[in-house]
Symmetry: C2
Subunit: 383 residues, 2 copies
Amino acid sequence: MRTISILGATGSVGASTLDLIRRNRDEWRIVALTANCNVTQLAALAREFGAEIAVVGDETCLAELRMALAGTGIEAAAGAKALCEAAARPVDLTVAAIVGCAGLAPTMAAIEQGGTIALANKEALVSAGDVMTAAVRANGATLLPVDSEHNAIFQCLQANDIADVRWITLTASGGPFRTWSAERIAAATPAQAVAHPNWDMGAKISVDSATMMNKGLEFIEAYHLFPVGLDALRIVVHPQSVVHSMVEYRDGSTLAQLGPPDMRVPVASCLAWPKRMETPCQALDLAAIGELSFFAPDENLFPATRLARDAAHAGGAAPAVLNAANEVAVAAFLAGKIGFTKIAVIVEQALNRDIGVAPASLEEVLAVDRLARLRANEVLESC
Amino acid sequence: MRTISILGATGSVGASTLDLIRRNRDEWRIVALTANCNVTQLAALAREFGAEIAVVGDETCLAELRMALAGTGIEAAAGAKALCEAAARPVDLTVAAIVGCAGLAPTMAAIEQGGTIALANKEALVSAGDVMTAAVRANGATLLPVDSEHNAIFQCLQANDIADVRWITLTASGGPFRTWSAERIAAATPAQAVAHPNWDMGAKISVDSATMMNKGLEFIEAYHLFPVGLDALRIVVHPQSVVHSMVEYRDGSTLAQLGPPDMRVPVASCLAWPKRMETPCQALDLAAIGELSFFAPDENLFPATRLARDAAHAGGAAPAVLNAANEVAVAAFLAGKIGFTKIAVIVEQALNRDIGVAPASLEEVLAVDRLARLRANEVLESC
């Protein structure tokens, strides 16, 4: 029996993880489940799985959580500090699936206890890349990527030497606006942006898919996870989202991982690694799918991948600024405050205001993140 | 420095192997090079690479070979027995690339010396599957598949447990007649059948691609190389020949190997295994390729895969009969004696004449093969 904590248990990655654990109940004991503010669902999951502790990020929800768990013996806690304390409890596997930079401190706490971290929180790795990878090394932790693209790359690298890699190619669906005109994209609504053609995901990542910033963040994430250098990383648009990513070796062999658009596939890969487990995911029928297509990204219509690549090349605070500005801009877009194409404009303007410091600790990353959000809000106001 | 022998040095796999060795001359010492009757090229290669021995299958060529190698100190030999003796010389790696059942005895001799065998001679494994895999086990030899499809599967299985495999999918180009009508296929000429759309190969294997018997033989080859059972093996038509084959695991992950239609890629995989070596093969540019398509095989127009699957299910002598009858029929087609669609008819009729014995040794396989050729010739005469 292995122990597991799920940071972000009520999101889509959390749901995929719990679906698989539900099918293999005798193999797992759940230590911590966390959520931002969805108390009802968090309490129901904590009860169902007999968690040791349930934590909400939003402190105003604590009383409600305590009530929902009354009589169960399950601990209830709330707030940023409680999230980190729960994440620090020793477990075999932590699923780090909090969305955005909010997941950074809990993920770092999980890394510091030295177990295996299934990382779905790409923003944390983008903002704190060097700090986080240094902590992984220092604490003897193991990072397993949950993102379907990075999980694909991770699978394609098994039994191979990373020194033999010629190219790593991230595939991108191109999002819901791939075939739209510039005019139509400029007028896109939040509802249109959230309607992803292939994946059923949360609002923030769906908007990131529509701007292609999701791929930009994944580009930086890949840079930290797979040390092949920025010049060996590429992006190709693949609307069917069947090929999740690829690794080309110096002998001319390319290995690719393919599968249905079901997060249970990469989550299962992390849960069972280095073995494999049964999932109910549908088998791949390429004859039924018929056609897989591939295009070069259009960085005029979708500048986010260019911004992310530039930020990765610049290094220092730039990736944290990119991510913070993007989070601010996406929230403003979802709130109806700015148009769709303004998201990239705000990110670019925020990147142009150089913060000029390379964050060297979690605290510095968080300070850079706060500063970048203020800058992004200033840019936003002036838009 | 590693030692290598190449059985079938003047064919396309032999040429790919020697091209790679030529780029890494200080890493390899060549023991034996063999050919059927191309004395000029064999002697030139033996001289260039300083082989220990050169052998021609055709005994009438011995005098010419001796003359071509005079004064070099390279041994010259000829005939079936000499091929086996040369193959039996201990080496680190044997490339078994003789086409057809003619390669069976030399390949078995190489297996019996217990080294690593890079197997390109699919017909040998089809005819002598159980006998050959038993010899591999008994002699502690290692089989590495050279066929691009099986090499792809082999790569996709690394670091995985074959018990976790749900499906192995062989891709097939569909050959030059994939989009032709039944009438046009019936009138196809040898020149049309040999003109493969993607791969530059020998005449026999090109015709096998046109009939889809190549995929049928590969189906049986895969059955022997990868013990997942016949019901877990599938074929999908993929005209671009970019995805060389795939393995789907029980968690829903499919791993695929992709690459250019260049035999140096799988050969390099075998030469460097379990590492990788540099090749000059072109990088994969999927955005430039644009589209990969997949179809279910049409076994009415191309019955060969059905015949091969039935032969594999029947077991015993059936695969050897299938292969022998196919070799006879393809030779008759190339000689202009029969029409294209008669190839499958002859194979099917030969299979219907049950030989009723499961060959249990190399000698019995060869006897079954001889008998099957006689039967196939009888069928051929009555066509």
